[in-house]
Amino acid sequence: MPGSRVLLVDDETVFTKNMSKLLTYRGYKVIAVNSGDAAIRELEQADFDVIVLDLKMPGMDGITTLKEIMKLGLFTETLILTGHGSIDTALEAMKLGAYDYLTKPCEIDELVAKIEAAWEKKEGKE
């Protein structure tokens, strides 16, 4: 839903910048960070409806970041976005509590649809 708060986590700065713009054009409030540590810090300071999390990142990778996010006990739903396309890793992420996954490159409309679905689930939980 436009107005939802989205935390975009990806080590590709150009990708996060562009995706932030695209989501912002579509009415989302987007904060983009480029590492797992930064994502945790943001989550500790502000509430988000949906997190879009890349799996393969230097330093704290997506799976570790997801584990830390789950430790925070938030209502936020997490979408896994990966260029690796690894079903195994994505499934592992879903076992840990991620809502769904997408593979790069994905159309903006596809991402928006997943964000909406995640938001609805999160709203349902609340």
Partner: protein, 597 residues
């Protein structure tokens, strides 16, 4: 998109390299020799050693027995002869010593003594008393010898000198072979001789009646080698023998005689002879027999034992060679099987490592693609929100973004292929009606095939039951194969692709044949078609992953793939799939499905 291959091939099975094959052949030959030598060492050698040893021992024992028999014969007959001569000598001496000359020459006295002598056996031919002058003083016997003077005879001087004399065989006045025993006796100054002529027939029977086989004979020789009895086979009494008598010796002597000639000059084969000298007279008793007859039984047993032994040894050798050859065949078969498994393992390993690499490459490409896609989307958003500078710019802008989208989708397909190859795509096991599935695939590809002048023919086995398999991956497999089959007709105006399904209910397997009438695959490409990134197509026409994906999917689904091809004629792929997928695949999928739920 499947990777087209322009040539025919066989499966991933390979044969050893030529130098390795030669080395392996040498190893088999070495192994064969080792087995055979080991068999010889462990079974043949002991058998032959024991066999030869027993045979040698038996032969020696049997020969010793035969020689003992000869010695016994000679000893026995020598004793008989000596006993005969001693008995007659003693009797003559007894008569001479118990009678005076006058008493013995009284009419009837000598005749009485002669009759007493011959009472039991007719061993004397005659008996005479001879005076010092050499004439008979008395005579009992069949001959008229009164007028004969013996003083000049060879034996007369001998008996006068020795007191007892046994002569050799001689003809004498009676002109027939005979010998005498004579003793002297003195009564005061009168010296006389009591002479007995031994019945030659009776004496000779003691020796000549000895019968030993067909070639055995016994005879007596005097010190000059003259027969004193008639030999049974060759020669006659008083003839000179060819037997090499040698010098006098005590006891019994065994001799082997080779090249000995008969009296008629005929050469005898090897003979075994046993001889013993009599003390008085110096006669040599000889018992001899042809070697071949004497040891015939031994040689016969010996020969058959050795034949049996060597036939047994040969049988063992033949059996061991056959067994060894059979074992080597088994080893070769197992090696070939191991090679095949190694090849499969290597192929799987190669695919796995390239799969990892592909996954990494796909990821690295996907990230920039994702950025390009976002940039395109941003431009589209911007175009919607901000005015364009003119219609020509807008047209070019739209064209360029459209081309960007086309190329992104192309790259995406390539990365998806890479990821599919690296088994990163999702699988789902469902019930698949393979026949219906094949019809769908044909429908899907029919338009493309028609445009290339290709017709589909299907032979679908109605007995084929539904399989448990992954329809999306199967679709990928058959789309790749059919695409390849269509592309293999490049340059041909028309052709066909035949799709055949067969059920092997006994082994719970489904067979699918995809055969085309295309250009076939050259032998040089035979072993490489399943290798990732191998293609003979022009650059940009294919990634070379099509058949690698097919291979990895079929393997993953628990099946096998093989191929036959003839350049210029066509190619036929055969895929065999189990009715149910491997347990490990089902488990991994069940786990994934559970996670998603």
């Amino acid at each position: 998109m499947a990777t087209p291959k322009d040539a025919g091939t066989r499966g991933p099975d390979t044969v050893p390299a030529p130098d390795m094959a030669a080395q392996r052949k040498a190893n088999y030959a070495r192994l064969f020799r080792k087995f055979v030598w080991l068999t010889i060492l462990c079974s043949l050698a002991p058998l032959l050693l024991v066999g030869w040893g027993i045979n040698l021992h038996y032969t020696r024992f049997a020969r010793e027995r035969m020689l003992n028999f000869f010695e016994t014969q000679v000893d026995y007959h020598r004793k008989i002869i000596e006993m005969f001569l001693n008995e007659h000598s003693s009797k003559l001496q007894l008569i001479a010593q118990t009678h005076t000359r006058d008493e013995i020459i009284e009419p009837g006295a000598l005749q009485t003594a002669f009759e007493i002598f011959n009472k039991d056996l007719w061993t004397l031919t005659d008996l005479g008393v001879i005076g010092e002058h050499g004439y008979h003083l008395a005579y009992a016997g069949p001959y008229d010898l009164w007028s004969r003077n013996y003083s000049k005879e060879f034996w007369f001087a001998q008996v006068m000198q020795k007191g007892l004399y046994i002569s050799d065989m001689f003809m004498g006045f009676r002109k027939e072979p005979h010998f005498i025993i004579a003793v002297t006796q003195s009564n005061g100054d009168q010296k006389w001789i009591l002479r007995a002529t031994i019945n030659t027939e009776a004496f000779r029977s003691l020796v000549e009646n000895v019968r030993i086989g067909k070639t055995g004979q016994a005879y007596l020789l005097n010190a000059e080698g003259v027969f004193q009895t008639s030999p049974r086979l060759s020669g006659a009494i008083m003839e000179k023998s060819t037997y090499p008598i040698g010098s006098y010796h005590e006891g019994i002597q065994i001799r082997s005689l080779e090249g000995l000639k008969d009296a008629d000059g005929k050469e005898r084969p090897l003979q075994i002879a046993c001889q013993a000298w009599l003390k008085n007279p110096r006669w040599l008793l000889v018992v001899k027999q042809d070697y071949s007859e004497a040891f015939g039984d031994v040689n016969y047993a010996n020969t058959w034992t050795l034949i049996f032994l060597h036939v047994s040894a040969l049988s063992i050798l033949i059996v061991s060679v056959l067994i060894t050859r059979h074992m080597i065949t088994i080893v070769k078969r197992r090696d070939a099987e191991a090679d095949r498994l190694n090849d499969q393992l290597m192929q799987a390993g190669k695919l796995a490592s390239i799969g990892e690499l592909s996954a990494g490459v796909a990821h690295e490409i996907n990230n920039p693609l994702a950025i390009i896609l976002t940039e395109r989307q941003l431009l589209l958003d911007a175009a919607n929100h901000f005015p364009m500078s003119g219609p020509e710019f807008k047209e070019q802008f739209d064209d360029s973004l459209s081309q960007v989208d086309i190329q992104i989708q192309r790259c995406k397909r390539i990365t998806q292929n890479l990821l599919r190859f690296s088994r990163r795509t999702e699988s789902l096991i469902e019930t698949v009606d393979l026949n219906a599935f094949m019809r769908e695939v044909v429908d899907l590809m029919d338009r493309e095939a028609r445009s290339s002048g290709i017709k589909f023919f299907t032979e679908l086995d109605p007995a084929l039951p539904p399989l448990l398999s992954d329809p999306s991956q199967l679709q990928q497999v058959f789309l790749n194969l059919i695409t390849n089959a269509i592309d293999a007709h490049a340059g041909k105006p028309y052709g066909s692709v035949r799709l055949i399904t067969r059920a092997d209910s006994q082994r719970q397997l489904a067979e699918v044949h995809v055969a085309d009438t295309g250009s076939g695959i050259s032998p040089a490409h035979l072993s490489r078609i399943f290798d990732p990134f191998f293609t003979t197509k022009a650059v940009g026409k294919g990634t070379g992953l099509g058949l690698s994906i097919v291979y990895s999917i079929v393997k993953r689904l628990g099946g096998t793939i093989s191929v036959q091809s003839e350049p210029g004629t066509g190619t036929e792929f055969t895929i065999v799939l189990p009715y149910t997928p491997p347990k490990e695949l089902r488990e991994s999928l069940a786990e994934g499905h559970h996670a998603k739920m």
